[in-house]
């Protein structure tokens, strides 16, 4: 499945349809034309973010061409990156995402292995159940969770509200089901002869997993890791509902709640903050695009 997405070399069709080359050229130009149009549509908001991030407030307020920067400045970047609060948001987001990714991968690799290879009573049902869980949106769960936190507090005295680490408990519900699902798919595509041989040779189940499955399914693990990271980095509802103090916020909520200050607006900084907040997933994506796409299409190419 990884191969499908990783393979960039689709057959070059121009050769095959040599007889209708003119048609092809025409179709090609048309394709490029429309692709350019779509690329403009798709890339305009981030580009506009970048343009605005280079402007001073005075230039933003002036009635000049909004699509051009007349006096570029890095002031917004400098101001944000030297501001404690923004760095705290960044740190919180990074901590939450890294820990959530680690937890999610540990949980889902083991569970996927058990579900894909160690068939036991109810394992098929459970595999389906895992996928169904992924279909329950967080927007359905945040209200009962809100109340449950009060229950936990009353019962144990542990305060879950307004703590960034509460996100570490909550985010796996968003990542684990899909990661497990991706990994089940990957593990299922590994030839059974491999682990059968290993088991006959006396390897334990754990050894089979670590020595054979994990190395072979590495592309899938990377894909799932990226997925988990992007989901944790982008999550907005849970932190919005469950954290309040400035030092407990993660980036998306931090930017929206602290940079937009009711009456006084500073769009240069807001756009800078948003762009920097979008940077980590974009950078990962730039380097690992193929794995990312493999992860996205994991379910599909099987279907």
């Amino acid at each position: 499945m990884a191969d499908t997405a990783l393979a960039t070399g689709a057959p070059t069709r121009a050769l095959k349809y040599g007889s209708i080359a003119k048609d092809r050229r025409w179709a090609l130009r048309l394709s490029y034309f429309f692709l350019t149009l779509f690329a403009i549509f798709f890339l305009m908001p981030p580009i506009y973010m970048f343009i605005t991030s280079l402007k001073t407030s005075a230039e933003i307020s002036a009635e000049t061409n909004p699509w051009w920067v007349f006096n570029p400045t890095l002031a917004n970047y400098i101001e944000l990156l030297t501001q404690d609060t923004y760095l705290i948001f960044f740190r919180n987001s990074a901590m939450v995402s890294v820990i959530v990714v680690t937890i999610s991968m540990l949980i889902s690799v083991f569970a996927a292995f058990a579900l894909a290879r160690m068939r036991f009573w109810g394992s098929t049902l459970l595999a389906t159940g895992v996928f169904l869980t992924y279909l329950i949106p967080e927007t359905l769960l945040f209200i009962p969770l809100f109340k449950m936190m009060a229950m936990v507090r009353d019962a144990t005295g542990i305060e879950l509200m307004n703590n960034w680490w509460t996100m570490i408990i909550l985010y796996p519900t968003l990542t684990v089901p899909f990661c497990t699902w991706i990994m089940i798919g990957y593990f299922a595509s590994i030839p059974k002869e491999l682990d059968e041989a290993a088991l006959i040779d006396g390897a334990t189940w754990i050894q089979t997993l670590t020595k054979i499955f994990i190395p072979v399914a590495l592309p899938g693990i990377i894909a799932a890791t990226i997925f988990a990271f992007t989901v944790s980095w982008a999550q907005f509802l849970y932190p919005l509902a469950f954290t309040t103090s400035t030092d407990q916020l993660v980036l998306p909520v931090g930017i929206i709640t602290t940079l937009i200050k009711g009456d006084v607006f500073n769009w240069g900084q807001i756009m800078t903050g948003a762009l920097l907040g979008a940077a980590p997933p974009l950078i990962i994506y730039a380097f690992l695009m193929d794995y990312y796409i493999a992860g996205l299409t994991a379910g599909a190419t099987k279907g």
Binding site: S57, A58, I60, S61, A62, E63, A150, R153, E159, M161, N162, L240, T244, S245, T246, D247, V253, I256, T257, T258, I260, K261, G262, D263, V264, F265
Partner: protein, 448 residues
């Protein structure tokens, strides 16, 4: 005028007693009890750059004097953060010793708050009386549950463009509200206002009055409802939406909205500011934050801005006033220290410092504190803020949705119900149908 005279004498009184009173109020609470200890404070994260420093300095000063360890947070009110913090702390029974409260929350969480009658009695003696709106919001069953905070309290009166108002509507707002003197605004009525709105609309610079669901929108329409004597719910909790004053108000808004920008029903608290700073409108209803931003980003616009009073209606001249509060929780471990700091923060010197640090945005609730130097001198144009704190008691300071019981009023306010009604009626819905909708919504607000 006798009023002026009495004010002067009161001010002299302050000057003489300020120092003595500081000691009087601050001393007994702390020194008598345990002097040391810890205190955590959640101040409002101020919009005006640098204004947080004032609260921080004052609290630190106090702490050094009283030898208390303090921890200061500045919490934003954006996206309801401060509000969610308050309810989380109320539920948890733990949190800051002093917290900044929005206008409506004091009553809502009153059973979790420590009464501060003693502090308020002393402060009123020192700084002058507070108006009924402050009492409505800050008292529960006649007891003070919180002290009105200087930071974050605001009057959202008109902020007009001097040039555009002259040019389109022929109104000289500076002459009507001269700096340093009493207003000459007898003709500044709702009819004049409507004509001015029409003229400015024709001139291409419509008034920017939001009709969304955020505070600015609710505040403006709340004051205009009061000017007609309209209330959706009366003090006893009866729904009075189907009454003539309400109908008059909605009809007035229907006329007014024709001269407002098309998308006012989606405006939030920042949209009107941008509208003014961008030079698109001749007037918005806002505290001086829009002027402050204009001073920073669009100085040419700022020079033409003038903050003044509301137009008067059949039942009087009302201006929207949203005092906010500082309060201490019942579960606070260091109440004496908390009360001492509460008193300290409202000493005249402290108030003056906050007002100055916020460029005049902050507003003390006490009667004798409306003529501070900052408002007289801030500019350009000089005196633009003179009338902001209502120095001549020219208008009645009210908060939207009163006199309804708090639990209902706050929902009318936060759901922007009056704005929704105005927009529905403007969009062509029959009056009675709109009022039916209002009744239905109000019944929902009364859920327990």
């Amino acid at each position: 005028m006798s009023k002026r005279a009495s004010k002067l004498s009161r001010r002299r009184f302050i000057a003489n007693t300020a120092l003595a009173s500081t000691a009087l109020i601050a001393a007994p609470y702390v020194r008598g009890a345990n002097a040391a200890g810890k205190l955590s404070i959640g101040f409002w994260d101020h919009w005006v750059p640098g204004a947080n420093d004032a609260t921080k300095q004052l609290a630190t000063e106090w702490a050094a004097k009283e030898k208390v360890d303090i921890q200061i947070d500045h919490i934003t009110s954006q996206a309801n953060k401060l509000r969610l913090t308050a309810s989380a702390e109320a539920q948890a029974g733990a949190g800051h010793d002093i917290l900044h409260f929005g206008s409506w929350w004091v009553n809502e969480m009153a059973d979790k708050l420590e009464p501060v009658d003693d502090v308020m009695a002393a402060l009123i003696k020192l700084n002058g009386a507070v108006n009924p709106t402050v009492r409505y919001l800050g008292q529960k069953d006649g007891k003070w549950m919180a002290v009105p905070a200087t930071t974050g309290s605001q009057i959202k009166g008109p902020c007009s463009r001097i040039d555009l108002m002259k040019q389109h509507a022929g109104i000289d707002v500076q002459a009507m509200y001269p700096a340093g003197g009493p207003p000459k605004a007898d003709n500044w009525t709702l009819e004049t206002f409507l004509k001015a709105a029409e003229a400015c609309h024709k001139g291409g610079h419509p008034f920017g009055i939001g009709l969304g669901v955020t505070a600015d929108s609710s505040d403006t329409i709340g004051a205009l409802f009061h000017a007609f004597g309209a209330a959706l719910v009366d003090a006893k909790g009866n729904i009075t939406a189907k009454s003539d004053p309400v109908r008059q108000s909605l009809d007035y808004y229907k006329q007014l909205m024709a001269f407002l920008p098309q998308d006012v029903s989606a405006w939030d608290d920042a949209t009107n500011n941008k509208w003014l700073v961008a030079g698109k409108g001749a007037m918005i209803m806002n505290p001086p934050s829009a002027w402050a931003v204009a001073k920073r980003d669009a100085p040419k616009v700022a020079e033409q801005l003038w903050t003044h009073g509301f137009p008067s209606g059949p039942k009087g001249r009302f201006a929207p006033f949203t005092p906010t509060f500082w309060a201490t929780w019942k579960f606070s471990k260091n109440k004496p220290a908390a009360k001492s700091l509460l008193a300290y923060l409202s000493q005249p010197a402290a108030v003056e410092k906050m007002v100055a640090a916020s460029n005049g945005f902050d507003l003390p609730s006490f009667a004798n504190m409306t003529e501070l130097k900052t408002w007289a001198e801030e500019g350009p144009p000089k005196g633009t803020l003179y009338h902001y704190p209502n120095p001549h008691n020219h208008q009645i300071l009210s908060v939207a949705a009163t006199p309804a019981p708090h639990a209902i009023a706050v929902q009318i306010y936060t759901h922007g119900l009056m704005c929704k009604l105005a927009v529905r009626h403007f969009q062509g819905e029959a009056m009675e149908k709109t009022l039916d909708y209002a009744v239905k919504e109000l019944e929902g607000y009364m859920r327990t």
